[in-house]
Amino acid sequence: MIFIICFLASLLGILAGTFTGLAPGIHINLVSAILVGSLSLPFISKIPLLALAIFIVAMSITHTFIDFIPSIYLGAPDDESFLSILPGHKLLLQGKAHEAFILTLYGSIFSLIIILIVTPLFILFLPIFFSLIKSVIPFILIFLSLYIIIREDRSIIASLTFILAGILGLLTFNLPVKEPLLPLLSGLFGLSNLLISFKSKTRLPKQIILPLKEITLSKKEFFKSSLASLIFSPLCSFLPGIGSGHAATLGSEFIEQDNRGFLFMLGAINTTIMALSYVTAYSINKTRTGTSAAVFSLLTTISSNQLMIILITIFFACIISFFLGIYLSKFFSKHINKISYTKLTFVVILIIILINLIFTNWLGILVLAASTSLGIFVILSGSRRINLMASLILPSIIYYLF
């Protein structure tokens, strides 16, 4: 009986993850918090806690697969997939949005191999190496910051962008901004891009739906993206204040990749970090994502049997989400041309503003305005948008050093 309940919970979790992935602004942390907060309700209290935990795990993993759809097709960011907007939008304008999304799916499914390799290492060695790596990470981030600026041809504009984004990030995280990541990232990477597209009256070409066997990476690109994911996603999955954005920046700066390899790496990083957050909760009793905190609060502690069930759920959700993602991407590719891109952009701009008005406060709206204008400045000045990652990197450096 418990097996059937858990199986149903994982299917429902996949369904919920598809919804949260497709709907910009509806975050898995919000659904998890509502679920944990509803435990006293008669209907919810009858469900075994393990089934609720499985629901959250399946939802979170599916979310990491599907949340690239609004990022790539609409340019509406999410706090895990926001970096995919940059290469994703380029490929969308070339009629290759399906290919871009499938590359993130390949990355996400590849994460299963990373999870298989890293999970035993995390269980055995993470309690020993946690504090050592924690003390090294700010210096890696300082080195990364300098490297990002020096690499750029126009280093004065790059430095200016980096400093402004860093200050904006620091202010956002030190002011009473409700849901600080939402206005910060939707302005820097979403709204700014959409406003430029809206102004330039971009026309969307017909989207090409290539068969899966034709969407491939070269061996060299696959090796570089896999290596970057394998090194940086486990490193960024157990440290506080470090997430998929940091991992992607580290991965793309230290192991150079083209747009397609970058999308593959983003998919792998997102799913790996989400999956390993549950292993981290088991290994060192520390939660690093909202959903792992919810699972931890439901189960109190995670036993080895429960971890095994969580890992099986992750694998199950990965496989279902992969095929679900292909279906949804084909659907979007077929229908996105039927709508005028300018009108679609306008609607997405309104949705992002509306989501911010609902979920954040007046300070968040100020942050949204500042981050949008900074994002526009970066696009118009021709600086690399990776400099905007200072908004997350600088606060992390300060957090670790002081």
């Binding site: 402004l164 002011l175 009473p176 100020l366 500042a370």
Partner: protein, 105 residues
């Protein structure tokens, strides 16, 4: 750099300056009157309240509005009225109050 990039740069600078002012200056400070209000505020929110001390231990004082704060002291503070400035912090998902200043009035 394109000339049209200057306008968003100026707007960004102005907005960052505005946000920095809100952070540095004693504005956007909320007056609170009960411990329950602490839980409803966002982390990093500046707060202030005043009250008479009705209970004390060596490291903690409790005001007549039921707000308790960590405040190590030597001599007795009972029946004295103070103005407290602080900031909301989160500690393992619980809201706590970090005291910045405590001034007798």
């Amino acid at each position: 750099m394109q000339k049209q990039a200057l306008l968003p740069l100026l707007i960004t600078l102005e907005l960052i300056f505005l946000l920095a002012s809100i952070y540095i200056l004693p504005i956007n400070t909320k007056k609170i009157s009960s411990p329950q209000e602490i839980n409803s505020l966002e982390p990093n929110q500046k707060i202030e309240f005043e009250g008479k001390i009705i209970k004390e231990t060596k490291n903690q004082i409790t005001f007549n509005n039921s707000i308790s704060i960590y405040y190590p002291h030597n001599s007795t503070l009972i029946n004295k009225t103070y103005m407290v400035n602080g900031i909301i912090n989160t500690f393992y998902e619980n809201k706590t109050l970090i005291v910045k200043s405590i001034i007798p009035i």
